[in-house]
Symmetry: C2
Subunit: 205 residues, 2 copies
Amino acid sequence: MNQPPVSRATMGRLPLYLRYLQSIRDHAENTSAAALSRALGLGKVQVRKDLNAVSGAGRPKIGYNTAELIDDIAAYLAADSDSGGVILVGAGKLGRALLDYGGFRDYGLDIDAAFDIAVAEPCESQSGKPIYPMDDLDWYCRTHPPVIGILTVPASAAQNACNTLIAHGVRGIWCFAPCTLSVPDDFPVRYENMALSLAYLRKKI
Amino acid sequence: MNQPPVSRATMGRLPLYLRYLQSIRDHAENTSAAALSRALGLGKVQVRKDLNAVSGAGRPKIGYNTAELIDDIAAYLAADSDSGGVILVGAGKLGRALLDYGGFRDYGLDIDAAFDIAVAEPCESQSGKPIYPMDDLDWYCRTHPPVIGILTVPASAAQNACNTLIAHGVRGIWCFAPCTLSVPDDFPVRYENMALSLAYLRKKI
């Protein structure tokens, strides 16, 4: 899969296409941008652009082969999921909510395990995901190399946890702690500040 | 408080200024953009711009009166908190994590109550917030007019819940369901798609 970069907006719509296509696959061998546009309430140009970014299944006058399009979108979404795992540090309320959140699977992703300094013995989240003591991180990462680390620790613990994750091979961080991390140049970090999001919405009213 | 609109980036830094200023207030009657810039690792021009957006406490050659600046930032952050509440619909894992999340208080906000269709009798979250049956929403909103509604329901239930919230006076919605809501023109909705955020970070690696 050597596709050009796909925008965040396009990626947001891919699961919609996928679910709809799966619902029609048994009775529609082919489909068109116009049909998808009507069914999903999206612009036809947008649909065409979205699909062309991840699939070569479009044929002039015929449209898209439904099965091929499903395979291409699913392959794009799942593209990198077997090249390394996702782990989370900080199994408090937010950490556990993310750990047990099923929606990541829409994008072929899932959080594999969590680590917490306050956990003395390995245990399980409500949905059965493993939660390990922080000391087990080193052992775990040797057998399950992670690529993404999620930080749901307090701000005061975030930089330390970030350093540990990077030392263990993580190549991107999703940070829920309200702080700014020091990371190597061009190292991808996505910050999520829940409190700020709500405050900003409040001010817009 | 008739301040000009403050950017999301500035709002993100206000709690940092506030916490730092509170830590020095007992031994520093005045402070300066330069001192704040050094202490917080931010650009001096940025500090000055941030503070001038919410405070008139700056004086040429003297700098900022620490106590006055604290009051202005705190007042800005808390400005609208008593003009209506925040309620949440959908008290599943993510809903409860948000309900019990303490960080909103940095912005003078908090979630007052949650509602869930699967709750038969009023109960409490782990931190003691009330969770009511969905049928109690009407009664609750009459005595506690809400301004913001948070949707942590499945996508299939989101539009209905959104309509109910708007009918009960909510003027802004924070939507965690992976869907697009139909709302009146210019009605503020902030969408939060956790799965997409992780997927997008994954693709950037």
